[in-house]
Symmetry: C2
Subunit: 203 residues, 2 copies
C-alpha cells in the first residue's frame, strides 16, 4: 500500500461514516460539501480523498456510491480478514462485544486468555480459548491480525508467542513498547498516555 | 503549551516508562542509549526530548532523575487533575479498573451512566452515578477532563451535556466526529478504525 499519513488514514473512516449516512448514493458530493458537513478544512478533505482510488469530477465532485466503494476498498473493508484478541478481561470483552469491526471487513473470531475462569466460555457469541491453544487456531484459520489487551507485564511474552504463530500486525493496548521482528507491524493505543496528552493541553 | 507533534507526545510516556525502570536516578544516560534500549532512532529520541525542559550535557547526556522529572512535568504528571467517564459498560468499566492513569497525575473520580442496573454501584472502588447527576459532580469538583465510552448514537448528546458542565477536554472512544465549541479539545480513539488501518497495511 502507498505510504499514507496515519492522520489521513484515521479520517477516512469518518468520511465513510458520513457518506454512508446519506440516502442517495447516485447523487454527487464535493469535497467542500463533505468538509462543511464535518466541520473540517476543504483542502484537508481533498488531500485525504486523493489517497483513495476515487475519481472526482470538476465542479461536480464524487458520486457518493463510488466514493463509499473507493474508501471501503482502500481501507480493506472488502477484503475480509480474521483477527484474534489476547486477553479476555474487561477491555478484551468490550472489544469482543463491539459490532463495529465488521464495517471494516474485520471478523474477530476468538479471544485467548490464561485465566481458567474465562476459558471455554463465550463473550457475545465469540469463544474464549486457552492461550496454549492459540497456535492451532491461528495457523488453522491463517489469522494475521491480533489485538493485545493483556496487562503490561505480560504483553511482550504474548507478542513473542503470537509472532511465532504467524501474526503480522498487532494492535497493542498494553502501555509498553513491544519488540517485534521487522516484518511485523505494531500500532499502539495507550489510553492513559492519550488522556495525559489531553490533560497537558489544558494547561 | 508549545505545539508538539502528537507522535512525539505519544512517545514521551514510553521514554518515561523506560527511565523509571532504571535503578540509578543519579547516573547519566544519552539519547543514543535510550534509543538503543528501545529500538528507536537516536535523532528521533533527541528531537522528542528537546520538547521537554530537560537539559542534556554534551557527551554525557541527561541525569536520569532530572529527565524523569522533566518528562513528568511536561506531561502534566505533577499537576494532578480529576477526570470522569461517561458510559459504564465494558469499556468504561475497564477504564475505571485501570490503574495506569495515576502515573500521569490523572484521577478518575467517577463514571456516569443512564442504565439503572449500573447506577449507584462501584467499579473497582469508583462510583457510578446517574447521568443526570453529572452536572453537580463536575461543577463541584471542577472537573475539566472527560472520557466518552457511550455508544456512537449517544455520543454527541453526551458531549453537548458535558461541555455545558464545563468540560474542556474529551477523550472520545465513540466512532463519531463530535461537534464541540472551539475552546474544547477532543482526541478520538476509534479502535475499529485503528484495526482497519493495520489490516490495510497488511495488503
Amino acid at each position: 500500500m502507498r505510504e499514507v499519513p496515519v492522520t489521513s488514514l484515521q479520517r477516512l473512516p469518518v468520511y465513510l461514516n458520513y457518506l454512508k449516512s446519506l440516502d442517495d448514493y447516485d447523487s454527487f458530493i464535493s469535497s467542500g460539501a463533505i468538509a462543511r458537513a464535518l466541520g473540517m478544512g476543504e483542502v484537508l478533505v481533498r488531500k485525504d480523498l486523493a489517497y483513495t482510488p476515487a475519481q472526482g469530477r470538476t465542479r461536480v465532485g464524487y458520486r457518493v456510491g463510488e466514493l463509499v466503494a473507493a474508501i471501503e476498498d482502500f481501507l480493506g473493508c472488502n477484503n475480509r480478514r480474521s483477527a484474534v484478541i489476547f486477553g479476555a478481561g474487561e477491555l478484551g470483552s468490550a472489544l469482543l462485544s463491539y459490532g463495529g469491526f465488521s464495517n471494516y471487513g474485520i471478523d474477530i473470531v476468538a479471544a485467548f486468555d490464561n485465566d481458567p475462569s474465562k476459558i471455554n466460555k463465550c463473550v457475545s457469541g465469540k469463544p474464549v480459548f486457552d492461550n496454549r491453544e492459540a497456535y492451532a487456531h491461528i495457523v488453522k484459520r491463517k489469522v494475521t491480525l491480533a489485538v493485545i489487551c493483556v496487562p503490561a507485564a505480560a504483553a511482550q511474552s504474548v507478542a513473542d508467542d503470537i509472532v511465532a504463530c504467524g501474526i503480522k500486525a498487532i494492535l497493542n493496548f498494553a502501555p509498553v513498547l513491544l519488540k517485534v521482528p521487522r516484518d511485523v507491524i505494531v500500532r499502539n493505543i495507550d489510553v492513559a498516555a492519550n488522556l495525559a496528552i489531553l490533560s497537558s493541553q489544558l494547561d
